[in-house]
Amino acid sequence: MTAKMADSQKPNCMSCGGFCQGKGLLTLKDGAWTNNPLAIQVLGICSALAVTNRLENSLVMGAALIFVCIGSNLFVSLLRKHTPHRIRMIAEVAIIATFVILFDQFLKAFYWDMSKQLGPYVGLIITNCIVMGRAEAFALQNRPVLSMVDGLANGMGYAAVLAIIGFFRELLGTGRVFGHVVLSSNWYTPNQIMILAPGAFFALGIVIAVFNILKGPDAEENK
């Protein structure tokens, strides 16, 4: 079945390759698909594993990362000519932390329950390698607008994979999606292990393998 999926994906990618002429679109595609931060580069998996036991949490976390990524990329890029090279890491971390605090305060003010559920993992976006990696690898070299697009792309790529993992873990682990029963307990016994820690590792392992299959053999050489 996966082989079939690979075939159906490939022509899409080809046509997209011709379509993505503008640099912005290319950046968007690169971040969200070709170099998907989670599935291809395997960055920032901590939060990806921890919050994906429910689809709702996954979506909020994805939104948080998109917000932080866009904001930090924009500001790192704006300040890139004024930041001394030696202290750039601290400067980047400070910018990222500011945006994370903003989001954390927003969650605490308007979505207290969600803030409680995500626990320390919102704060841990600061140490999410994706945000830091994009600031370091992209925003330091590029203009602000393009950096924002890159932040958006990577955030979306991350959010998408998070949503996929969250969907399957919640579905298989509890038989529910968004808290609504989908797989009736009459014939489906919820597989508790999927919402516990091992299920997270397993789900991500499978997702990465599926991405490897979809991307074909050349993905291996990049590793």
Binding site: V42, L43, G44, I45, C46, S47, L49, A50, M89, I90, V93, A94, A97, T98, V100, I101, D104, Q105, G119, P120, G123, L124, I126, T127, N128, C129, M132, I193, L196, A197, P198, G199, A200, F201, F202, L204, G205, I206, I208, A209, V210, N212, I213, P217, E220, K223
Partner: protein, 196 residues
Amino acid sequence: MNETSALIILVAAILTNNILLTNFLGMCSFIACSGQIGTAVGLGTAVTFVMTTTTMLNYVIYHCVLIPLGLCHLTFIVFIVVIAAFVQFVEMFVERFSPKLYFALGIFLPLITVNCAILGASLFMIIRKYNFLQSVGFGLGAGLGWALAIILMAGLRQKMRYSNVPEPFRGVSIAMIVTCVLAMAFMGFAGMVAIQ
């Protein structure tokens, strides 16, 4: 304030509440640096040391500076700056006294700054309302637990080089699945001691 003894927290943080296998913290360097047992031991030691010390530092700063001044919303930024400064210090220290380890760890030494386990330990300490002794126990236990997990993983991955893994699963994917099995094994400790 919970009254669990620091020793119990230490044991629990290593086995039942392993920061890597149940809280998923520090995965990036876990996956990237678990190829060689030597590197894993080095990194594990560095993380244990940094984690214990930063947990203590952050505890003192949080309770003596941030709370009296009512600056709790700055927790994240203060913690991460403390950690970053401390890691810088450790980096200089390792570079001076063990250049071999320095090169083996490469980029991952500065990346301890963004190792979520370090910041995570500090944040858990605040959320679970540990006192000073408990925090030290937790920091040390979490560090040791992380080191234990990465060393186990390095051993498994060294063996795995000789096995025939299906093409798409090679690399990170199979590492995740092995971690899954490892996490399941650690779940066996669950009934032993419990914190939160």
